[in-house]
Subunit: 272 residues, 2 copies
């Protein structure tokens, strides 16, 4: 099997930064998974004894706690601060910026539309900074909602720009002022664009990343439009059947997928 | 010939208001044409002795001057004030709002994109309030331009929303913050939507209005997509040939077209 890589794929700035922080803080724990990649989390645990604390109840003053790349809700941060002074913030700076924008827009009297998945930790964090906000994934959800005159719109950092624009266009057609913050991060945009191009040039696409990773799932959606595509977390997910009578396999990876996982998988498919 | 009217057409709030102002100020003069409808201007001149002053040079302290619906540039207003104290402002309140937004966004440090025709008096007025601004009619004109991080976008009140959204979408894809003011006026939007619907139901469309009227020309563009369409200023522009083997004629009119002109024309085509 011949393998072609996307022009841009894998680790983004925020994830690289968070992993470095975790590696530098052995024996600490993260509040929820640091990034959405179980295998990398396992590696940090094995090599650096970085644990996961699942709830705030489990935190005490002796704990050194790392805040995950996705950030945490405002109130959780308050509770965390009351429990321990050893807090290390690995929130992605782009997510932090998104939280700040939401807070500022609330202060300035805007109603806020957050384009994203309400169950995703990043979105829960952002929402906590946005008063008078609504979290939506489609235009239809806006139609039953009546905002005041001024609306601000932000996006979860890992969504698709086309979908974001649909939301924005509906708002512009219906409200006098729409203040649009394109908070989709550049790494996301670049990985998506590269996946779009590559998936139309190959026989099969592998999207490597965590099954709980938002940006990885978006990449899969994009690739599926152009070719047979599969999301794999590790080489154990591979199925040799997929590759029958195929010549070229395209490879991309989510922003939280480390190179060592990609290399393992590519090694294996090259042998097919 | 059977005649069908668009659900919304003709006089908008700003034009109605300006004509009332002119009628109440006999013997005054307007700086440039009050509205873009030569026949209505002629009526105001004949019945109320409202004249047109073409340049600021012609104004002196004895003149009572009406500012046209489209507004005038900031510097012209300053000169006008230095020449006469008798100034009556018939600027459409929606255009005034657009000037104010441009001024505020300049103060707040935004680069400003004005979607409109740079030669149109409304746009010239708005532009004078917008520092660091660019006037454009198409996305392509934006591509050679590099803005700072924060961009504000406004539209000439009489443009088409679809075109405005194209401009806005390009900006959102390329800049971090885009503050969008949908300054296309409701009358424009309603007249356009009604013209779109009616033109697809009839054999021929008449768009009645001034040949120098921006919103009238937009209506013509819309109708042409669905049926044979003509712009007529008065009944003398009609050509009986157009109506041969047609059954239903749709009628719409620009925001500066008075009813008496529409009635004259409709009277004539009913006889075909």
């Amino acid at each position: 099997m011949k393998v072609k890589f996307a022009k841009n794929y894998g680790f983004c700035f925020g994830v690289k930064r968070a992993i470095k922080i975790a590696e530098e803080n052995q024996n600490s724990s993260t509040l929820g998974p640091l990034i959405h990649n179980p295998k990398e989390i396992e590696r940090l645990n094995k090599n650096y004894n970085v644990l996961i604390t699942n709830t705030l109840n489990d935190v005490n003053k002796d704990n050194s706690v790392i805040i995950r790349t996705h950030g945490i809700p405002k109130d959780d941060l308050k509770i965390l601060k009351s429990k321990t002074t050893q807090i290390i913030d690995a929130t992605c700076p782009f997510v932090k910026k998104l939280q700040q924008i939401s807070e500022e827009m609330s202060k300035d009297g805007y109603d806020i539309v957050i384009f994203g998945d309400e169950n995703h930790p990043e979105v829960k964090g952002v929402e906590s900074y946005a008063e008078n906000s609504i979290v939506i994934l489609s235009v239809n959800e806006l139609k039953t909602h009546k905002f005041r005159d001024k609306v601000a719109v932000v996006s979860q950092t890992t969504r698709k720009i086309e979908e974001f624009l649909k939301i924005v266009n509906y708002l512009i057609e219906n409200y006098k002022e729409v203040r649009v913050f394109n908070t989709i991060c550049n790494a996301t945009l670049e990985n998506q664009e590269a996946a779009r191009v590559l998936s139309s040039e190959v026989d099969i696409m592998l999207v490597i990343g965590g099954k709980n990773s938002s940006n990885t799932k978006q990449l899969l959606d994009i690739c599926k439009k152009n070719s047979e595509s599969y999301l794999v977390e590790g080489s154990e997910d591979l199925n040799q059947e997929w590759f029958k009578s195929k010549e070229v396999c395209g490879v991309t990876a989510g922003a939280s997928t480390p190179n060592w996982i990609i290399e393992n998988i590519v090694e294996k498919i090259k042998q097919y």
